[in-house]
Amino acid sequence: MAMNWRQTVVPDMFDNDIVPFWNGLKQHKFMLSRCRHCGAHYWPMALCPKHEDNTFDDMEWTPTSGRGKIFAWEVVHKVKTPAIEHELPYALVLVELDEGPIFATRLAGRSPPGLTIGLPVEIAYEDVPETGLTLPLFKLST
């Protein structure tokens, strides 16, 4: 049976802490965890290490630019299952977001040629009607 991997991403799998991030995506907002004191951003959620007595109440999910640069990349040429073979080759990237954190994601569509570290990229929201979720894929900025 042809399997659409997009439908395998379902809320049941998420850690409770990450739910605000996925709720933001539904509204096409790219949220990061932000320190209320110094404004530093984190992915995923973490207590800002710059303030000794921080609590989780000192962190808030806030919309961000959804832009960054490729920090590292790889191109998947082989997968474990025939069901997504038709999407090969696809690129997985670590994005160094403009706000600082590293975000791991996939470039939409097939891997573009000439991927290099430093190329600018941006969020490419992909709605999945079957699950009601939106996937945080990225694309090369033009």
Partner: protein, 402 residues
């Protein structure tokens, strides 16, 4: 040299590997333990402590939840049976737990065992999951983003390839350099009749021509899949002297865990947290780098070997690729690395592959691959169940000696 720390010793070793052994991981683990107990010249009734040291806990088939224990399967009269699991550092964590139990007098002889039916799992009925053996599930700390194509990638290369491209970018390391690591391990494997890839020599050209799995990783950059089991028996130095095999002392143990700075410290992507692990283990053992006769590195992929040879200081940071290309880790090189073939060419069983090989070398049982006068061996582990894109955050270091 006189070993500074010789309180506890490995006195028994059981190891085997193959493909399609058609047994559960639990049975393979029991078999490894049985072999280790016999190797020590002990009886099952002597074993009063057992440690189930696995790579991954609940997500591994047979690795957690409502399962049987290898100690019961084997009929060991143990007072405790503990599970430790932290990726590829489980054997060294198991040794920490075992030596502390011996120190407290909780047991006289402790067996630490691991097994996996990885080859059978990926080629049998467990291989049919559309997205592979994902770890998603409520309560499993999933971010969801691992489903964007990471967990579908063949092997763990989808998690580890980033670190290779990053090292290439920062230091000019090339795919051919990684190929030299694969060739070096294969040369050792060809001296080891029990290695999975024994008798199948390769060249850097073969590496370059092997299929691309996750660029920049070719097939020959990836470790093997194996059905394998390893177990060791540990006891105190006094008891060790009375046993059949020469004791292999646990001289030093250390850990590093750079999860503390993960995701925002960008230096994490080209180095492992070796520094604190090395400092602790070397200090306990009273040794320097030059004292090490062979190194058994965790080699899930070729770049991890490059990172470690640099991070331990056998060459300057960034020079691990050229170091490999000079044959410095191969038979006849400066520092013998992964002398049984490692996980790239020997067999895959987390840090147990290197642990078992270190014991073989220190006993002088290495045959054609024996490192002359080997007295001190380094074993490393690489693990941690970090969410993507976490480089395995934990580094474990064990110094063994005779």
């Amino acid at each position: 040299m006189a070993a500074a720390n010789q309180k506890f010793a490995i006195v028994g070793l059981g190891q085997f590997n193959g493909r399609g052994l058609a047994k559960s991981a639990r049975t393979l683990q029991a078999e490894a333990a049985r072999l280790a107990i016999a190797d020590a010249g002990l009886d099952k009734k002597d074993i009063d402590g057992a440690i189930n040291g696995l790579g991954v806990g609940g997500s591994m088939p047979g690795g957690g939840g409502w399962v049987d224990s290898f100690s019961r399967v084997l009929g060991l009269p143990t007072k405790f049976y503990w599970t430790v699991a932290r990726g590829g550092t489980a054997s060294i964590i198991g040794i920490v737990a075992a030596t502390r139990a011996l120190e407290l007098g909780l047991a006289d002889y402790v067996v630490v065992a691991c097994a996996e039916a990885a080859w059978s799992n990926s080629h049998g009925k467990l291989a049919t999951s559309p997205l592979g053996r994902g770890r998603a599930g409520r309560g499993n700390y999933s971010l969801g983003t691992e489903m964007l194509g990471f967990s579908a990638a063949q092997t763990a290369a989808g998690l580890h390839g980033f670190f290779a491209t990053r090292h290439m970018h920062e230091y000019g390391t090339t795919s051919e350099h990684f190929g030299a690591v694969a060739v070096s391990c294969r040369e050792w494997a060809n001296l080891n009749p029990t290695a999975q890839m024994h008798g199948r020599p390769i060249t850097v050209e073969d590496h370059q021509n092997s299929p691309m799995i996750v660029e920049p990783y070719h097939l020959l950059d990836c470790c093997l899949e194996s059905d394998a089991g390893v177990a060791i028996v540990l006891t105190t130095a006094e008891r060790a002297k009375e046993l059949k095999k020469p004791p292999v002392y646990v001289m030093g143990l250390g850990f590093g865990d750079h999860a503390r700075q993960q995701w925002w410290d960008k230096t994490n992507y080209t180095q492992l947290d070796v520094a604190p692990a090395k400092e602790a283990a070397f200090k306990q053992a009273g040794i320097q780098l030059e004292d090490i006769d062979c190194a058994q590195f965790y080699d899930c992929f070729t770049a991890e070997v490059v990172f470690q040879i640099e991070d331990y200081g056998w060459c300057k940071k960034g020079q691990g690729g050229p170091f490999a290309a000079e044959g410095a880790m191969a038979p006849g090189g400066i520092i013998p690395v992964n002398t049984g073939g490692g996980m790239l060419s020997g067999y895959y069983l987390f840090d147990y592959t290197g642990l078992a090989e270190a014991v073989v070398q220190l006993r002088g049982e290495g045959g054609a691959r024996q490192v002359k006068d080997a007295e001190i061996a380094l074993v490393t582990g690489h693990g941690g169940e970090m969410v993507i894109p976490g480089m395995c955050s934990t580094h474990a270091c064990a110094i063994l000696g005779r």
